[in-house]
């Protein structure tokens, strides 16, 4: 008798749990993305940005979000006529925020790769990255051909490594697991130059006296674009229109002046990073 009662109790509990789940599944509309009209109605746009990637998305000493991505996000909210709510994302969780509708847009330095295009929809690009080469000022390397027979420092698994292995087998590569090790090796003089994303080398050269970025842009260019949930065409076309309109007033150059120039210094050329109006050359 006792045993039967226990069994019934367990079955009842399980039944309650399953029906509760089942019910929610039917009206589960939370994962759906919002259109611009719905965002306007709600009065707040939710944008996922990095919170610790200066100068693209970071939090300043007054706890305000700042950076190149954020500057654009603020403008988007302004033009939609809504308030903006930034949520801090990590590289690994960017896609999920869009898929579940927890963020309307991701502006977290999101490189538009073929693989990601299957999971999210990218709008027109607003920035680009390519490879950059930094070397000591005394023996500055300004052309790819100068690297022949020299030792170039790269980090394992980066685009720089694959690019040089494929296109310049005549360059000796010295590989490191971590960025910090690679940069330290250049400082110690274990190589003649270092190659990685140009945004990284530009910022590093400003911080380290005696080093200069001789090649600011080379190799394949990747573009960085806002991303929305797959199939959210209304919001996607709104953002595309917005980027085109902003191009007319040179908005992204202004953005560069405000957010990136203080970090990269006046020696860097904005044309190597900024895409205006969504036009890649």
């Amino acid at each position: 008798m006792r045993k039967i009662r226990w069994t019934l109790a367990v079955i009842a509990v399980l039944a309650v749990i399953f029906t509760a789940c089942g019910k929610k599944e039917k009206n589960g509309t939370q994962g759906k993305a919002r259109t611009p009209d719905e965002i306007k109605e709600n009065g707040e746009i939710v944008i996922g940005v990095f919170s610790d990637k200066k100068p693209f998305g970071y939090v300043d000493e007054n706890a305000t979000y700042q950076g190149y991505d954020v500057y654009f996000g603020n403008r988007m909210a302004e033009d939609l006529g809504v308030k903006v709510k930034y949520i801090p994302v990590e590289a690994a969780s960017r896609v999920e925020y869009l898929r579940t509708g927890k963020a309307d847009v991701i502006l977290a330095n999101f490189t538009a790769t073929e693989e990601r295009k299957e999971q999210v929809d990218f709008a027109l690009p607003y920035m680009k990255v390519s490879l950059g080469v930094v070397s000591p000022e005394k023996s500055l390397i300004t052309r790819e051909s100068q690297l022949k027979g020299k030792t170039l420092i790269v980090s394992k698994g980066t685009t720089a490594e694959t690019y040089f292995m494929k296109h310049h087998p005549e360059v000796n590569l010295l590989k490191f697991d971590q960025y910090s090790e690679a940069f330290q090796a250049l400082k110690d003089g274990r190589g003649d130059a270092l190659a990685t994303d140009n945004t990284e080398v530009l910022a590093w050269a400003v911080e380290n006296d005696g080093f200069k970025v001789g090649i600011e842009s080379m190799g394949n260019t990747d573009v960085i674009a806002p991303a929305v949930q797959k199939g959210n065409d209304e919001l996607l076309s709104w953002i595309n229109e917005e980027i085109k309109t902003l191009g007319k007033e040179n908005f992204f150059h202004e953005n560069y002046e405000k957010t990136l120039k203080p970090v990269y210094g006046s020696s860097a050329d904005p044309e190597n990073l900024v895409i205006e109006g969504g036009n890649v050359q």
Partner: protein, 227 residues
């Protein structure tokens, strides 16, 4: 150079933000720890049930929680629940739910271990006196088990507090992430900020975990004298 780094802590809202971050850490871990202790007690007793089905279901629950990395559980609760069940939990809610779910299983297993470690004659004596099952737990087993439980439970709770640093992946900026934000925003002005900020984070964790350990030690001593 050295005093430059420590200045970072007192610039702008930095110190307040670190404290707020610690507040988030505390809020999540205290809610989860409280929930885990209460639910864990019940779960521990369920694991001792005579009925095979109950023991079996509890066993599956415990093994599931042990095998699943907490990060996966966090993603399931935050993103999975929103996508498949339509539950739009906030980051903190999802975190509290996951840590309670995890803590209940771990705590339950500790309770089970503590109950089982009590010599069998204690229970048998109770039965001989004609106590009901509930009374045996209430007056004989639980009071003795509690004492053996304290060190392990404290260990679990402090572990929980430290594991909350994972919640940054579901968009909750707790104390470690806040620290990283501060370090990064000062990358050019104070390159050695990392040492000082992480030092402050260490002190904050210590200030929270140490009193818990100390209180547990006192309690253990107190009860030890009593019995």
């Amino acid at each position: 150079m050295q005093d430059m780094g420590i200045k970072i802590l007192f610039e702008g809202d930095h110190l307040i933000r670190l404290l707020e971050g610690m507040g988030v850490t505390l809020r999540i871990s205290l809610v989860s720890a409280g929930g885990s202790v209460i639910l864990g007690m019940i779960f521990g007793m369920l694991m001792m049930a005579d009925h095979a089905v109950i023991r079996w279901v509890s066993r599956i629950y415990l093994e599931f929680v042990r095998i699943m990395p907490q990060l996966v559980l966090l993603f399931l609760a935050y993103f999975g629940a929103a996508k498949h069940l339509g539950w739009d939990l906030s980051g903190e809610q999802a975190a509290a739910a996951v840590f309670t779910f995890w803590g209940t299983a771990e705590m339950g297993d500790l309770v089970r271990g503590a109950l089982q470690s009590i010599p069998r004659h204690q229970r048998q004596s109770g039965e001989a006196l004609g106590l009901t099952k509930l009374q045996i737990y209430r007056f004989i087993l639980v009071p003795q088990a509690l004492k053996r439980l304290i060190p392990q439970a404290v260990n679990l709770i402090t572990r929980m507090i430290k594991t909350t640093s994972l919640v940054v992946l579901i968009g909750v900026a707790e104390v470690v992430k806040t620290g990283q934000q501060i370090i990064e925003s000062a990358r050019l002005t104070a390159p050695d900020a990392a040492l000082w900020v992480y030092g402050a984070v260490f002190l904050l964790y210590f200030a929270v975990c140490w009193p818990i350990s100390a209180a547990a030690g006192l309690l253990e001593k107190h009860w030890g004298e009593e019995v």
